[in-house]
């Protein structure tokens, strides 16, 4: 099993574009690939690879409930909880499930065994087969939830014995990106040749070093200013895996919710080449 994460640092650089089109290029050659949409706050792969839903399941996290017959209102659980999800005062105890981070500590410190855990829904996983050769697994976080990580983890846990998995991550370098990228064999960082793109690319590269995931770079909206990215990559010995041209046709295709490789045949080679180079990088581990 090979897991390739696609991340970026800066938002809107083309992560989903690369994920979708690379998968399609691969499927068109008879390959089998799973895309995991781990940008669970705003998943978007399904806008380009539509339909074919085969099932969905809830994502839950454990939260405490207190048996008030056993509780002596000692307050140890409340003192323990760093997130103040439990309030205990003389004669009563209250739980705020929305603040709970599901560490289970309250249950462990309770001397009366008065605390048990029940599941609470925080999101959903949707499984689909939008085209032959592609399985799409989309994580969707419920509105108002504070943490994406349980949904991202649940999506990643569905990735079983597939040939290749492409994991589309959230932008930035927060917990959401880290939990999606961690454990992957390789990470493609999609950037654009602007000072902002470079700045956030560097943050992403530093993050990946800390969690020991190797990376290469794809320059999207490639034009005359590619040099700023290329100089950075060459200084850090980071492979440039490919360039997607700055092209009106791509913007138009994207705005219509269509895939580049099915609409613009002369760009298919761009995405199959990105995949080939990534595969080589993965193999030279």
């Amino acid at each position: 099993m090979t897991q390739i994460a696609i991340a970026s640092g800066k938002g809107g650089t083309g992560k989903s574009t690369v994920a979708c089109n690379m998968a399609l290029a691969l499927a068109n050659l008879g390959g089998k690939v799973t895309i995991a949409d781990c940008d669970v706050e705003e998943p978007n792969i399904h806008l380009f690879l539509k339909g074919g839903e085969t099932g969905r399941e809830d994502v839950t996290v454990p939260v405490p409930v207190i048996d008030k017959k056993r509780c002596q209102y000692c307050g140890k659980c409340s003192d323990f909880c760093k997130f103040h999800a439990i309030s205990v005062f003389p004669g009563n105890a209250l739980i705020f499930p929305g603040l709970c981070h599901s560490c289970g500590g309250c249950r462990l410190v309770c001397p009366e065994n008065a605390i048990t855990e029940v599941p609470r829904n925080v999101g959903v996983i949707v499984r689909a087969r939008p085209v032959d050769g592609i399985n799409l697994i989309t994580g969707i976080l419920d509105e108002g939830e504070h943490s994406s990580v349980p949904v991202i983890t649940a999506v990643k846990n569905t990735l079983a014995e597939e040939d290749i998995s492409i994991i589309d991550c959230a932008p930035g370098t927060s917990c959401n990106m880290v939990s999606a990228v961690r454990g992957c064999d390789y990470c493609i960082l999609v950037t654009e040749p602007t000072p902002f793109g470079l700045h956030d690319l560097a943050l992403a590269v530093e993050t990946l070093k800390k969690i020991n995931v190797r990376c290469g770079v794809v320059i999207n909206k490639s034009a005359c200013s590619d040099r700023i990215i290329e100089e950075y990559c060459s200084a850090g010995r980071i492979r440039v895996l490919g360039k997607i041209p700055y092209d009106d046709r791509i913007a138009r295709t994207y705005s219509e919710g269509k895939a580049i490789v099915t609409e613009i045949p002369d760009l298919v080679a761009v995405f199959s080449s990105i995949y080939d180079k990534t595969k080589k990088e993965v193999c030279t581990q």
Partner: protein, 116 residues
């Protein structure tokens, strides 16, 4: 029985703190003798749950009334679960607020009032 006032400093002549969850001090004072003690609010820098933590701290001291400026939904839920009496007051010193409480001039509140 003591009452609790949210305060910006640790004495009776300092101003009240209008925030409940992130007030600097809780002052527990006997409204008859004016004997008091100030408890620093340890949840002032919490990223979340400050209101719940503050309410829990206050309730451990079982005050007969709580006087603050603005209070949020979670803190109010905790205080209501304990049947605590909550009064609102602003721009007064702690001593003035106690005087108004003694004179029955404070407005009691049943619902959170921190929504702009």
């Amino acid at each position: 029985m003591d009452i609790c006032i949210t305060a910006t400093s640790d004495n009776l002549d300092g101003m009240m703190d209008e925030r409940f969850g992130r007030c600097k001090y809780f002052i527990f004072v006997d409204p008859v003798t004016m004997k008091y003690r100030a408890v620093p609010n340890t949840s002032i820098n919490e990223s979340s749950g400050a209101g719940i933590a503050s309410a829990t701290t206050v309730l451990k001291n079982s005050p007969s009334a709580i006087i603050t400026g603005l209070i949020g939904g979670n803190a109010m839920e905790v205080l209501k679960a304990a049947n605590a009496r909550v009064y609102t007051c602003q721009n007064r010193t702690v001593r003035e607020a106690v005087g108004m409480y003694n004179d029955g001039k404070l407005e009691s509140i049943e619902a959170p009032n921190n929504k702009k």
